[in-house]
C-alpha cells in the first residue's frame, strides 16, 4: 500500500534528539541493507553454514582424512575395502574403490565451488558489461541481445549445454583454447558462454530503469562521457542487483556442473580429481545394490550447499531491494 510505504519511508530515519524529534542524521543505505539482511534469519544461518563449508574445503589438507584417490586401507584376502558402510575409519563409508567418501566430498566440493566461483565471476563480468551497454545504448545491440537470450531462455538449459559442448569440442582451434572437453577449463568456459546471458538481461533491465533517473540525466547534461556514466553511475548503482546475480550464478554453475557430470558430460574423473557432480553420478550405480551412504551423503551435501547459497541470494535480494519485502513485521 502506498500509504504504508510512505509511512515506513518517513520513519526509516531515527531522531538525533528524541525530545525534539527532528531528523538530523540518517542511516546509510548500506547499513539499512545490512539490517534487512540480518533480519532474514535463514540467510544469516546460511551464510554461517557456507562459511563452515568453505573452511572445510579450504583446509582440505587438515579436514580430509585421506587423499582423493587413497583407499582407507589396503585390501587383503578376506578383508575388502570397497563399499563399506559408515564406520570409525570412514565416517561416510567407502566407495567402490575403497576410498573414503567423507574426504572425497571435501575434494569434490573444492572442485565444484571453484567451478562455480570462476564461472559466476566470468559470467557476471561479461553479463554486466553487455547488459549495461545494451540497456544504456538501446538500439540494435539491445534487440540482438534480447532475441538471442529469448531463444536461450526458451530452450531447456541441458539441451543448450549439450549442443554447444558438442559443437565446441569438434572445432580444433576452440579446443586449443579451451582444452579438451573433459577438462575443468573447458567446462568453466562452456558454462560462462551460456551463463552470462541471464545476468545480461537482469543488468539491462536495471540499467534501463536507472537511465531515467535524475542523477544520470544530470550527469548526461553535465557532459559526462558514456563510459563514465556507465562505470561511475549505472554499474555502481546496480551493484546490489549484480551481487544477487553473482550469488545465484554460483549456485547455477554448480548445479550445471553436477547435471552435466551426472550424464557424463562433465570433467573426467580419471585425472584423480572428483566433483560433486561426479560423486552424485557414482551414486546412481550404488542404488540397485542399496549402498545408501553413497547416495545419501553426496546428495544431501549438495542440497545443503545449494540451500545455503540460495538463501544468501534471497537475503541479499531482500536487502538490496526492499520492495520485495512486502509487509514489515
Amino acid at each position: 500500500m502506498h500509504l504504508h510505504e510512505e509511512l515506513v519511508d518517513s520513519v526509516s530515519l531515527p531522531p538525533e534528539d528524541e525530545s525534539i524529534g527532528v531528523l538530523k542524521e540518517s542511516i546509510s543505505p548500506k547499513r539499512m541493507a545490512l539490517k534487512r539482511y540480518l533480519n532474514h534469519h535463514a540467510a544469516v544461518a546460511s551464510a554461517i553454514g557456507l562459511i563452515i563449508i568453505i573452511l572445510f574445503v579450504v583446509l582440505a589438507p587438515i579436514t580430509a582424512r585421506y587423499g582423493v584417490n587413497e583407499s582407507i586401507f589396503k585390501a587383503e584376502a578376506g578383508l575388502r575395502n570397497q563399499n563399506l558402510p559408515p564406520r570409525a575409519a570412514a565416517w561416510f563409508g567407502t566407495d567402490s574403490n575403497g576410498r573414503d567418501l567423507y574426504s572425497r566430498i571435501i575434494y569434490g566440493a573444492q572442485v565444484s565451488l571453484l567451478i562455480g566461483l570462476f564461472t559466476a565471476v566470468a559470467s557476471v563480468a561479461i553479463g554486466s558489461l553487455v547488459g549495461a551497454i545494451a540497456g544504456y545504448k538501446g538500439g540494435w545491440l539491445d534487440d540482438v541481445l534480447m532475441r538471442v537470450t529469448d531463444v536461450y531462455l526458451a530452450l531447456p538449459l541441458l539441451v543448450i549445454l549439450v549442443v554447444v559442448r558438442g559443437m565446441l569440442k569438434n572445432v580444433d582451434w576452440v579446443t586449443a583454447i579451451m582444452g579438451p572437453s573433459t577438462s575443468v577449463r573447458f567446462l568453466v568456459i562452456l558454462l560462462t558462454l551460456v551463463g552470462w546471458m541471464g545476468v545480461a538481461r537482469l543488468v539491462r533491465g536495471q540499467v534501463k530503469q536507472l537511465k531515467e533517473r535524475e542523477f544520470v540525466e544530470a550527469a548526461k547534461a553535465l557532459g559526462a562521457s558514456t563510459p563514465r556514466i556507465m562505470f561511475r553511475h549505472l554499474l555502481p548503482n546496480s551493484i546490489g542487483q549484480i551481487m544477487v546475480a553473482l550469488t545465484f550464478a554460483v549456485v547455477g554453475a554448480i548445479t550445471a556442473e553436477a547435471t552435466l557430470s551426472f550424464f557424463g558430460f562433465g570433467p573426467d574423473a580419471g585425472s584423480g580429481m572428483t566433483s560433486l557432480g561426479l560423486l552424485i553420478r557414482d551414486s546412481k550405480r550404488a542404488v540397485p545394490p542399496g549402498y545408501w551412504w553413497l547416495v545419501v551423503y553426496p546428495g544431501v551435501f549438495f542440497i545443503i550447499l545449494s540451500i545455503c547459497i540460495n538463501f544468501i541470494g534471497d537475503g541479499l535480494r531482500d536487502a538490496v531491494d526492499p520492495k520485495m519485502q512486502q509487509e514489515v513485521k
Binding site: 510512505e6 509511512l7 520513519v11 528524541e18 524529534g21 514489515v328 513485521k329
Partner: protein
C-alpha cells in the same frame, strides 16, 4: 441534529520493522449531515490514515483504537460483518488516484453494480440499470456504452466520476473524499468538485474532504480541521481559518500556499517529526517560530481562542502577534 460520523479519541499505530509508528494520536471530531468538513495537513500528518482506520482498511499491521460512530453503529473493534454492512452503504470513500483505485480487468458498470448488489436486494439487471443511471448522474456522457468499458479507456476526470458514482450508489450518510482532485488537471478538478458539491446538496450527504490544497478547502468546505503529526491542531469554520487562524502551523501553512493574494511564499522550515518517537508536548515546536520551553510540557488540547479552536498553549499570547 445527530452527527453523521462521530469520531472520539482515535489512535492509529503501525507496527514496523523499526518500532511502532504513532500515525494518529487522539483525534476527535463530528461531521454533520450535509456539511463538508475539510481535513488539511502535510503528507504523513495522519489525515488519510484516520479515515482508513475508521473504515478498517489499513491491514494487519495497523492498530486502531478509540471510537467511531456512523449513526449508532460503532466501527472500531466491530465485527467484520458490521464493518461490511457500513462500508459502501453508510460510509463510502473516493481515492486519490482513480486509475489505480479501479479494478483494471472489470468493466466499470460491473464495478458500480457490484456496489449496489452487495448492499441492496435487487436483481442483477436492475443493478446494471441503476449503475448506468448513476454514471449519468455524475455526468458521464453516453453512460450505456461507457458502462461496458474498462477504466483504462477513461480519462482521469471521467475515472474519478466513476469512483463517485460507485461511492454514492447506496446513498451513504458519509462520503470520504481522499485527495479526490490531486491527480487531476486543474480544469478537471473544478468539475469533480462540482459533482461532489451537487451530490451533497441533493442527497444531504456529509462529505469529508481530505486535501493539502487550501484552495480546494476554501471553495468547498464549511468547516476545516488542520492536522499535524497525528493530531488536530486547529479547527473552525472555513472563513475563520483563513482570516483569523491562531495556530502557528496553520499560519505557516497559509503563508506557504500560493494563490491566496500573497505575493511571497514563506515555506515552513524543517520537516515533520519522526512518528516512531513523537516529541513530547507540542509536536510542531521544533519548527515553530514562537516555540518556548513551555511548549515541551503537556500536549496541547483544542481550546476555543478567538474564532477557532486551537491546540497551542501560547495561542492567547500569540493573538497579539497576529493582530
Amino acid at each position: 441534529m445527530a452527527a453523521a460520523l462521530s469520531v472520539t479519541d482515535l489512535h492509529v499505530t503501525f507496527k514496523t520493522l523499526l518500532g511502532r509508528v504513532q500515525a494518529v494520536r487522539g483525534v476527535s471530531f463530528d461531521v454533520e449531515p450535509g456539511e463538508v468538513l475539510g481535513v488539511v495537513g502535510e503528507s504523513g500528518s495522519g489525515k488519510s490514515v484516520s479515515f482508513l482506520g475508521v473504515m478498517g482498511l489499513l491491514g494487519r499491521s495497523a492498530i486502531v483504537e478509540g471510537s467511531a460512530l456512523v449513526g449508532d453503529t460503532e466501527l472500531i473493534h466491530s465485527s467484520p460483518k458490521t464493518l461490511r454492512r457500513v462500508r459502501g452503504a453508510e460510509m463510502a470513500m473516493i481515492f486519490q488516484d482513480p486509475l489505480s483505485a479501479l479494478n483494471p480487468v472489470q468493466r466499470v458498470g460491473h464495478q458500480v453494480a457490484e456496489m449496489i448488489l452487495s448492499h441492496q436486494q435487487v436483481s442483477k439487471s436492475a443493478a446494471n440499470q441503476r449503475a448506468v443511471e448513476l454514471l449519468d448522474i455524475v455526468g458521464i456522457p453516453q453512460p450505456e456504452q461507457r458502462a461496458k468499458q474498462y477504466a483504462h479507456e477513461f480519462s482521469g476526470g471521467m475515472r474519478q466520476r466513476v469512483m463517485i458514482a460507485m461511492a454514492i450508489a447506496n446513498d451513504p450518510k458519509v462520503l470520504i473524499a481522499d485527495e479526490p482532485t490531486t491527480a487531476l488537471d486543474v480544469t478537471v478538478q473544478a468539475q469533480i468538485l462540482e459533482v461532489i458539491d451537487r451530490i451533497r446538496k441533493e442527497m444531504g450527504t456529509a462529505v469529508v474532504l481530505i486535501t493539502h490544497d487550501l484552495g480546494v478547502v476554501a471553495r468547498m468546505a464549511d468547516r476545516v480541521q488542520v492536522m499535524y503529526a497525528g493530531r488536530v491542531v486547529e479547527r473552525s469554520d472555513v472563513s475563520s481559518i483563513f482570516h483569523s487562524s491562531d495556530h502557528p502551523y496553520t499560519r505557516g501553512l497559509l503563508m506557504s500556499q500560493p494563490g491566496l493574494g500573497r505575493e511571497r511564499l514563506t515555506p515552513i522550515p524543517g520537516a515533520p517529526p519522526n512518528m516512531l518517537q513523537p516529541p513530547s508536548g507540542c509536536a510542531f515546536r521544533a519548527r515553530c517560530p514562537h516555540a518556548q520551553p513551555v511548549c515541551a510540557g503537556e500536549i496541547p488540547e483544542l481550546v476555543k481562542v478567538r474564532l477557532t479552536e486551537t491546540a497551542c498553549v501560547r495561542a492567547v499570547e500569540l493573538e497579539e502577534v497576529a493582530v
